[in-house]
Assembly symmetry: C2
Homo-oligomer: 137 residues x 2
DNA sequence: TATTGATCTTGATTCAGTCCAGATTAGGGG
DNA sequence: CCCCTAATCTGGACTGAATCAAGATCAATA
């Protein structure tokens, strides 16, 4: 894995213990909430304020080091898999989230039939369904 | 337009003044928040509780009469255009929301390359970009 | 019209996320 | 190597969306 401190320095932002810990937590717990990340960071470096977590996640998101997804009916989730164009499937029953690569290939549907004059720069796709465990029940 | 009361009766749910007003408000104000809908309903029938609005919207959503979309960083929006497979484009600057028909056609990407065993029943697509007004500035 | 079960009202509550003021720390200049 | 400044972090108050709970009210059937 690439050294987190290097990634931060490369982006020209001050390197702090909190940010490194947040970045590591996102790698270790993909698709987890800000709260879960805060908990993981506390296990690692002892303590961190909720504010610092949100701040670090916001900064990392704006720098493109983590990605934020916000499914309906759930708090925001964060993951560190960036750069490829993958999407997510969420279980309607238990909320489990998994990565999927879109069958259409790269950047699906980025050109809408009628874009109403909008300039589109990203297409966000969420698949809704049921996970294997919930189907089994 | 189809009579709202008929739609409700057809679904086997009691017809109330609040529900009809909510259904009308959603038609008149597409892509608006629960709050905005409540305001519109109050203009029409005088008063309604926040709870009744949420309840009616939830019921209408479960019956497939309205659709709920929840963009990141914004409260849930509701619209009454259902049944066709259209998606939405949202302006990053001002939050304006518009409908788009996907270029790929019907139910794009519903079959993911690797679905991890999930059974997918819906693909939700949100395009992010800038609206004509914000580009002009 | 009477009955019954669903719906609506009011008010408290939860929860994610933000705001604020002050203490702390990273990183470059001396 | 040490100091300075601006950025970051802390802790707590706060907001706004949405949900929960108990009791009053109402739609639909007989």
């Amino acid at each position: 894995m690439i050294e987190p401190a290097f990634l931060l320095r490369e982006k020209g932002v001050p390197v702090t213990a909190q940010r490194i810990a947040v970045l590591n937590a996102v790698s270790e717990l993909p698709h987890s909430t800000a709260d879960a990340i805060a908990g993981r960071v506390r296990d690692t470096i002892g303590a961190i304020s909720k504010q610092a977590v949100y701040d670090a996640l916001g900064m990392l998101t704006s720098k493109g080091l983590v990605r934020r997804i916000q499914p309906a009916g759930s708090p925001a989730l964060f993951e560190n898999r960036v750069g490829d164009n993958h999407h997510h499937v969420i279980c309607r029953s238990c909320g489990k989230t998994a990565d999927v690569d879109c069958a259409v290939g790269k950047r699906p549907c980025l050109t809408a039939a009628d874009n109403s004059g909008f300039v589109i720069d990203e297409a966000e796709v969420i698949y809704w369904g049921r996970c294997p465990d919930c189907i089994a029940k």
